[in-house]
């Protein structure tokens, strides 16, 4: 008991994150209870303190997501915890992981890529990267419940990049597609389009 007490809680904090198991090994260990093991594995991973070995961490998150693809926990942790670190290199690794996983299930995972686009824009100040993610949301997400702000992200990022002509074309295409049913939103976007047209004329 003395030895156990001396060990204290949070022993994983000082230990390095071990190499990730293969998805097959994790599935075998779950004995058919994949959702439960996926979530317990997330609790295990999140018990390790920064700085973490990001390739290993990504391996763990990938294996956990493979175990229960419907769970949002790994991508939540990736976007909200592991991508929001001061180290840009690690942050970029995590953003790329989110992008890779988004492509596997765009209709359910777009919120995490939208968050990744915002991080790329505001934290990394990498507008081309933010545009890549925003463009992916617009192109690959087919679900009807995706809000228009997510689909319009690319337009506003292009505007920030001073790519006014591209933004104008994209916005015009969006309005012409008939996907915008809300009259107030359509009015706002038409006003935005006129503003972009005015700016491109004087450019």
């Amino acid at each position: 008991m003395g030895v156990r007490a001396a060990g204290g809680p949070g022993a994983t904090a000082a230990v390095e994150l071990p190499p990730p198991p293969s998805p097959q090994a994790l599935r075998l260990a779950s004995f058919g209870e994949s959702p439960a093991l996926a979530r317990i594995a997330m609790l295990y991973v999140q018990a390790f303190d920064q700085p973490l070995d990001y390739p290993r961490l990504i391996g763990w998150l990938r294996a956990i997501l493979d175990l229960d693809p419907a769970s949002q926990y790994p991508l939540f942790a990736a976007a909200r915890v592991y991508a929001e670190v001061p180290d840009p290199a690690r942050s970029r690794l995590m953003l790329e992981f989110i992008y890779e996983q988004y492509l596997a299930d765009p209709d359910r995972r777009w919120p995490w890529l939208a968050h990744a686009a915002l991080l790329a824009k505001h934290r990394l100040h990498d507008l081309p990267l933010a545009r890549r993610y925003a463009a992916a949301i617009d192109r690959h997400t087919k679900a009807a419940d995706v809000p228009l702000w997510a689909r319009q992200m690319e337009v506003f990022i292009l505007e920030d990049m001073n790519e006014l002509e591209a933004a104008r074309i994209l916005l015009g295409g969006l309005l012409a597609s008939g996907r915008i049913s809300d009259p107030d939103e359509a009015r706002f976007l038409r006003h935005k389009l006129e503003e972009l047209e005015g700016r491109t004329r004087f450019k």
Partner: protein, 253 residues
């Protein structure tokens, strides 16, 4: 109705043997774990609680049934109660099936009690399907444990054989996926191993397809898939009961 009397005796034995207390302990453990997990989860706290509680209660139900059946049979054998029963003018089928029916009722009762707390997290429809599935899965485990306990006549081998069969059936789909993985070399030995795995899988009930936590988390299965899985469990219960009866008929009084 000797079958009904024997089933009732099994229930009385389970009640007196402390099974209700063990079930209550399992529930308390699961709910405490759920409360703890809600404190450490960053997101999906409800689904984390639900997944872990459902998995834990399923394992507890199966373990309690397997141990209850094995212990009950061993006590009868050791107390010479089985020999006394066999000397009575009672059909052996009634004797065996009465016991099995009693253990099936115990499994159904455990499934019902263990499903109730899940209503806090999941829809009643999904919980009802999960409970029905757990009741049938428990009956299957009871049939396996009864067969092994009667055949092996020792508690540890009987429990080990039941656990081995159950765990193998639960993990068979993962083993098949590993055997058929893209990285497996197409050598003769690997092909033979894969064939062997497929052959074993054909003999086992697909327990990975029943009592699924996914039903509670992401919605109930479609009726056809559910009924097919339940029918498959029913077939295995019948097969195990038939095998147990065959062995029981050979036993000398």
């Amino acid at each position: 109705m000797p079958t009904a009397i024997l089933a009732r005796l099994v229930l009385v034995e389970a009640r007196r043997g402390g099974l209700p207390w063990l079930a209550a302990g399992s529930l308390a453990l699961a709910l405490l774990l759920a409360a703890f997990l809600s404190q450490v989860a960053l997101t999906e706290a409800r689904s984390l609680q639900l997944a872990v509680v459902a998995a834990l209660l399923r394992a507890c139900a199966v373990f309690l049934i397997a141990v209850q059946v094995s212990a009950s049979v061993m006590r009868e054998v050791n107390d010479k109660g089985l020999e006394l029963m066999l000397s009575l003018p009672l059909a052996r089928a009634s004797h065996y099936l009465g016991r099995l029916a009693g253990f099936g009722i115990v499994a159904a009762a455990l499934a019902l009690v263990f499903a109730l707390p899940l209503l806090a997290w999941a829809s009643p429809g999904a919980v009802a399907l999960w409970a029905i599935s757990l009741a049938l899965e428990g009956t299957l485990v009871a049939a396996a444990a009864l067969f092994f306990a009667m055949t092996l006549a020792q508690p540890v081998p009987a429990i080990a054989a039941t656990a081995g069969l159950y765990l193998l059936a639960r993990s068979m789909a993962a083993i098949q996926a590993i055997a058929a993985g893209p990285l497996v070399e197409p050598s003769v030995a690997n092909q033979a191993a894969r064939f062997g795995v497929e052959a074993v899988a054909l003999l086992l009930p697909s327990l990975d397809a029943v009592t699924r936590t996914e039903w509670l988390l992401y919605g109930a299965p479609d009726a056809a898939a559910f009924l097919a899985a339940m029918a498959a469990l029913g077939v295995y219960v019948v097969l195990l009961a038939a095998a147990g009866l065959f062995d029981f008929h050979r036993r000398s009084a």
